[in-house]
């Protein structure tokens, strides 16, 4: 899922061909998610089928260049505007989204804040559940989840600090 949105986010910066997309995706996510070129083209053809991108002119070497459509832009905005919930496979989706936001989105600080608020809500729920349980074992299980969200919050703080530093 996040590869699809990641490629779309990269295309929001301007037309690109497949190899270029693969290279930029890997650069933005620190090569943590190596893509093979087959995955890139499969994803691109689905995006095209869904009307989110279209094929443009071939470049001078005859490679097909893709460009984003209006519907595609709206989709990217929606993606950045929707915080990742733990049910969506947290790590990959969240990390890819933030890496893409920092690389492509002028409102990256907003994306970070929306994520921070969403994960704080999750932590508030976990803490309430912890208060409400009398079982020490259950509390420790909830603590483990709280520590995970806490790590995510610290990472978001770090992302924000780095981004502000870069913007200033």
């Amino acid at each position: 899922m996040s590869i699809r949105y990641g490629l779309l986010a990269l295309l929001s910066r301007g037309p690109r061909h497949g190899y270029q997309l693969r290279q930029e995706f890997e650069a933005s996510t620190g090569a943590t998610w190596p893509l093979n070129i087959g995955q890139v083209y499969t994803t691109l053809s689905r995006l095209e089928r869904d009307g989110l991108i279209r094929q443009g002119e071939a470049d001078e070497q005859g490679r097909v260049v893709y460009e984003i459509t209006e519907a595609g832009r709206a989709e990217v905005e929606r993606w950045f505007g929707t915080p990742v919930t733990p049910a969506d496979r947290p790590r990959d989706e969240l990390v890819i989204k933030l890496a893409m936001a920092v690389a492509t989105c002028p409102d990256a600080l907003k994306v970070i804040q929306a994520q921070r608020t969403a994960s704080m809500r999750a932590m508030q729920e976990l803490t309430r559940a912890k208060r409400d349980t009398a079982s020490p074992a259950q509390r420790l299980v909830l603590d483990s989840m709280i520590f995970q969200v806490e790590a995510e919050q610290r990472w978001l703080d770090h992302c924000e600090a780095v981004l502000r530093e870069e913007q200033s």
Binding site: Q113, T117, R128, R131, I146
Partner: protein, 224 residues
């Protein structure tokens, strides 16, 4: 019922805008946490809410009273506000119970009653056996709890706590939050400043400050 309300509050120190157009209220029974990086205005907000400082513009209302119109702010503060300072401010030459009694004696309560109240609150924070010890005979966590007992004594309607978990380990920190949460559940309005999300998560509402402004807030939905 709203205990404290900040309406369009700003506070500047010369060129520094420590707080800008902040709207915030804390109702009885609620715990609200303020989070933000260092210098974002957290302590300024807390000081304004407790009448330790006055806004450059906007109004702060405590139990329906506009603080700008109050002649004897110190008296109102003593009556209604309990404050846990960042650096505790325990008096080293007084025992735990004497530290906790002090604000009540300043309220004009007789020593006997002040002592009884102080002992009751020390018991509530789990320090009954340490009542006769001096601050330097207590652990960090125990000192923190004495400071909290001092803020809680006398049924304050508003409890303000600035980083009350200091450098405590997470289990002791959770105990502190348990206490503050308990006070809110018993009907006080509690405003907590912290930079640690695990403690903020005890709150009904978490407010995120950035450069003196409220950037966002996370609200815990009520269970019905």
């Amino acid at each position: 019922m709203t205990v404290v309300r900040l309406a369009n509050v700003s506070r500047s120190y010369g060129e520094v805008h420590a707080l800008r157009n902040v709207d915030l209220e804390v109702a009885a029974g609620r715990l609200v946490a303020v989070m933000g990086p260092s210098g974002s205005g957290k302590s300024t907000l807390l000081n304004l809410a407790g009448g330790l400082d006055l806004p450059t513009s906007g109004t702060v209302t405590l139990e329906g009273v506009d603080l700008a119109a109050v002649k004897d702010l110190a008296a109102l503060r003593r009556r209604s506000v309990g404050y846990v300072f960042q650096d505790l401010n325990l008096i080293p030459s007084l025992t735990a119970v004497e530290n906790v009694m002090l604000p009540r004696e300043l309220d004009g309560v007789r020593a006997r009653q002040a002592r009884a109240e102080a002992l009751a609150v020390l018991e509530e924070v789990g320090l009954a056996e340490a009542a006769g010890r001096f601050p330097d005979e207590l652990s960090g966590g125990q000192r923190q709890r004495v400071a909290i007992a001092r803020a809680l004594v006398g049924e304050r309607r508003l409890v303000l706590a600035d980083e009350p978990t200091g450098a405590l380990d997470t289990r002791t920190g959770d105990e502190i939050l348990q206490l503050l949460r308990g006070r809110a559940d018993a009907g006080a309005a509690v405003l907590l400043v912290t930079h640690e999300s695990r403690y903020a998560a005890w709150a009904d509402r978490v407010v995120f400050l950035r450069d003196g402004e409220i950037a966002d807030s996370a609200l815990l939905e009520e269970v019905r």
